[in-house]
Symmetry: C3
Subunit: 183 residues, 3 copies
């Protein structure tokens, strides 16, 4: 069909293309953007199922981890150099999704064990496996710098390959996405 285009009067083509460009500027990319605010195992799981599902469908995916959600990106907790309040925060928030509590039926960790066992029995990928799949599928992982700053988390406490970004980074991706969700 592109051969038709070259036969057109250049003035017509220029007008059409210029008008279309104005429309295209506001069209979303084939992108899904998630803000993961929650540090609950079940919500983290939901976000990873959506992220890997979207990546498998050929969509570009960004996950912006903020507040309690940021725990998903922590590889270790470094107490040295932290203030007392930062140390307390660090000790009370989990490290990596596998240690997270569930939002319901928690019963001092029983809920997590039950959910994880049932997922394994049904051969559903665990949160750790989904997280690794997401990274292999080039899902862009972004740590919220404001949350890192408030909680006193440094870049070397985070897993490798994580981008750092603020609310403008999130909004830049979200405004060009077909789907943006707050989890």
């Amino acid at each position: 069909m592109t051969t038709t285009a070259v036969e057109l009067d250049p003035a017509i083509k220029a007008y059409v293309d210029q008008q279309l460009e104005l429309i295209r500027e506001r069209q979303p990319d084939n992108r899904v953007t998630l803000v993961v605010f929650s540090g609950d195992l079940d919500r983290q799981l939901a976000s990873l199922v959506i992220a890997t599902g979207a990546a498998a469908m050929g969509l570009d995916v960004s996950i912006f981890y903020t507040f309690w959600g940021l725990s998903a990106l922590k590889k270790r907790t470094t107490l040295a150099g932290k203030s007392l309040k930062e140390k307390l925060f660090a000790l009370m928030t989990p490290r990596r999704p596998g240690r997270m509590p569930v939002s319901k039926l928690n019963f001092g960790g029983m809920g997590r064990v039950m959910l994880k066992t049932m997922m394994r029995e049904k051969q559903v990928a665990s949160v750790e496996e989904l997280f690794d799949m997401a990274r292999q599928m080039d899902v862009k992982l972004i740590a919220c710098t404001m949350s890192m700053d408030v909680m006193g988390i440094t870049k070397d406490e985070l897993i490798d390959g994580v981008a750092l970004g603020g609310v403008a980074t999130f909004l830049g991706d979200a405004a060009r996405s077909r789907v943006a969700l707050f989890v």
Copy 2:
């Protein structure tokens, strides 16, 4: 205005239509898609108010029920044929929205009773009424098959007229929606 179109040079019309088609492919339908993850009465209520409001405005609406949200679609709990863990899960999760706890001020069920009484006094539709309205307005209700599988919920424990679907079903609808929310 369509009469103008026939007078045009076919080459021009073909070029314009082809370019527009590329743009239309990425345009959303008049659709709203909700993922209902939460099993809290108040969040279920919020999702149904949005769903019925959108349907009343002429939008197509899909609600994708996942994780704890799936309880909204359960008509009964069948224990026979379930594993011990599945039985425990089934007994600890509520059946139908009317039995759900509220996310705040729960006080062992008092919050639910108070919220429901106040809604009745103010003649606001109850969650059961909103749910029935949603079905009458052709809101598409989809049960997440992965959640059913993990929790050991079978299709005959769900109310009639529910579609089954996975994350691809949800993303297919969400990517073509004007509004997609995670509740």
Copy 3:
């Protein structure tokens, strides 16, 4: 480039413009719409960071406060004229974001104190400052009338400059937004 347009055959221009108009009708405005359902300090904070960030990027922003989220708009609690249940609700829900509990690590208010102290130390704007910034940046604040009605909250208990609206108001804004989130 607009000079090119006038040289075009009017029939061609009319056809192109008519087709483009159909596409533009479904294009979103440069708008972000948030539903704030939660009355937790941390979620309110996240919504205000997104709202002020979006406003700073030149986007129009609407925040629709519903259910527990509505507390953010309360300037005082008037008990006179309320039913017993409304009084109980009023006393048990916080007033203004600064009094709100956090969703995690609450420990009877300690979480709030810690989060607020750490934000102050890191010179991150407090929720009250962000709220004032949002208003100065013309972020549209809308109180959900159905929630006001159910909880027995009157307009004079709310801060000044708040618009009142229902689900149709929210959906009207959300359907024309580049990003719509449920917080």
